[in-house]
């Protein structure tokens, strides 16, 4: 897979992620459960102390009507990316995603916002270069390294906690999950052997993920584990956006494995 092809796939896949998340936001913007709580006139107090230009821009772009037009623009460029990947929709996608994060006090969905921004930013930089140019490769390498880091650092952070090493962490996290955990999952993860086995499986996968950089077969194998891993996180914790944000980065990771 050449750099240009990898970039094309990254752009199209992040376009899919942006379409889905933009539609979610548009549906939310009408719900009283959202407008009754996250009113802009309250959130805008976060901009107090910043130069007036930022407050004015915030009022224009992130208020009730500005937000809807922002989301329509995001939806438009997302569709554009799916059909014809190009620098302009990548840049607009990056800016609108960043503004959405500011609207929700820094992040709407945490990790998926960060990965979406990294994918868009890296792809934008890469798209400014000629096919197979150094600039394009830098953008793809940076994205590949960040994807590896997202798993590896998560694993390093986990293994430092006793609850993960003793196998109690997963059943504990299920108690605060937004979905009611399936009875079989709760029983399984609370078990004497299955709980520690599951925890160490997660640790092994995350800590071993850097191997994806070194060989295409290893890369495809680890992506083959990563996809059901993210689907399981969706099924248990409702993290649907993570599936699409990380999937958009995998073509860059595969290119790194082939090129390296």
């Amino acid at each position: 897979m050449g750099a240009e092809t990898a970039l094309e796939w990254v752009s199209r896949l992040i376009g899919v992620a942006l379409v889905l998340s933009s539609i979610e936001h548009l549906r939310l913007s009408r719900a009283t459960s959202f407008t009754g709580v996250w009113a802009w006139r309250i959130v805008r107090r976060d901009l107090e102390g910043l130069p007036g230009l930022f407050r004015t821009a915030g009022d224009r772009l992130l208020g009730r009507f500005g937000l809807r037009w922002l989301l329509y623009a995001r939806l438009l460029v997302a569709g554009w990316l799916i059909v014809v990947p190009a620098p302009v929709p990548l840049a607009v996608g990056f800016l609108t995603t960043l503004l959405l994060a500011v609207r929700f006090r820094g992040a709407f969905n945490g990790g998926s916002d960060s990965m979406t921004l990294i994918v868009l930013g890296s792809a934008f930089v890469a798209s400014l270069g000629e096919p197979d140019s150094t600039l394009m490769k830098i953008g793809l390498w940076y994205l590949g390294v960040q994807v590896v880091a997202s798993y590896f650092i998560a694993g390093v952070a986990k293994i430092g906690h006793r609850s993960w090493r003793t196998g109690r962490a997963l059943s504990a996290f299920l108690t605060i999950a937004v979905y009611e955990p399936p009875g079989w999952a709760q029983r399984l993860l609370s078990g004497r052997f299955a709980g520690p086995l599951a925890c160490w499986a997660v640790l092994g996968f995350e800590l071993g993920f850097p191997l994806a950089m070194f060989h295409p077969v290893a890369c495809l194998s680890l992506i083959g584990v990563a996809v059901p891993f993210h689907l399981a996180n969706f099924g248990l914790f409702g993290l649907n956006r993570f599936v699409f944000a990380w999937a958009a980065a995998y073509p860059a990771l595969y290119w790194c494995a082939v090129a390296g």
Partner: protein, 170 residues
């Protein structure tokens, strides 16, 4: 390894710095401006430390002045396969959970335990509005009260209330 596709040394160095920052310390972002841009600086620490999770509880007072029982504000949602493609309510719930964590961090950051000092903050105001919405969903509600409780299924000794709000009229 073809030289043209080799990882640039500068990129390796940059990535090493990013990884070191993420691994060895949680970066506290100074200033509100940087806090609003924190999505650009991911830590990649997912589900690491369970510790004690802040949970929002609410109770409603009816027209007769009687308070109902305390209950968790953020109720579990039904799981649907279609949520993979569109999951606005659950993502909003996750956002609201993050809001409660933000408020709990503000309370924990106070030099002296004085929850009254956070009542002017954006996080407190949003949490109060969230509690109001949750209390109204439960039916007859003339006033409401909320609290933040730190809970952990891994630690014995029960939960700890770090904030109990005054009673607010609806």
């Amino acid at each position: 390894m073809p030289a043209g596709d080799a990882i640039p040394l500068e990129l390796i160095g940059f990535c090493a710095v990013v990884a070191a920052l993420a691994l060895f310390r949680r970066v506290h972002l100074p200033g509100r401006g940087l806090y609003l841009l924190r999505a650009l600086l991911p830590s990649w620490r997912f589900f690491d430390d369970f510790g004690r999770a802040p949970v929002l509880w609410v109770r409603a007072r009816d027209d007769g002045g009687t308070f109902g029982a305390w209950s968790r504000a953020l109720q579990r949602r039904p799981r649907r396969l279609t949520h993979l493609l569109s999951n606005p309510e659950v993502n909003l719930q996750l956002l609201n959970g993050s809001l409660v964590q933000q408020l709990a961090r503000e309370i924990a950051a106070l030099e002296e335990p004085d929850p009254d000092r956070v009542t002017d903050s954006v996080a407190y105001t949003l949490t109060r509005r969230l509690a109001r919405e949750c209390a109204l969903e439960r039916g007859d509600c003339a006033a409401f009260q909320f609290k933040i409780r730190l809970e952990s299924p891994l630690e014995a000794g029960g939960a700890v209330d770090v904030l109990v709000s005054p009673t607010y009229e609806v």
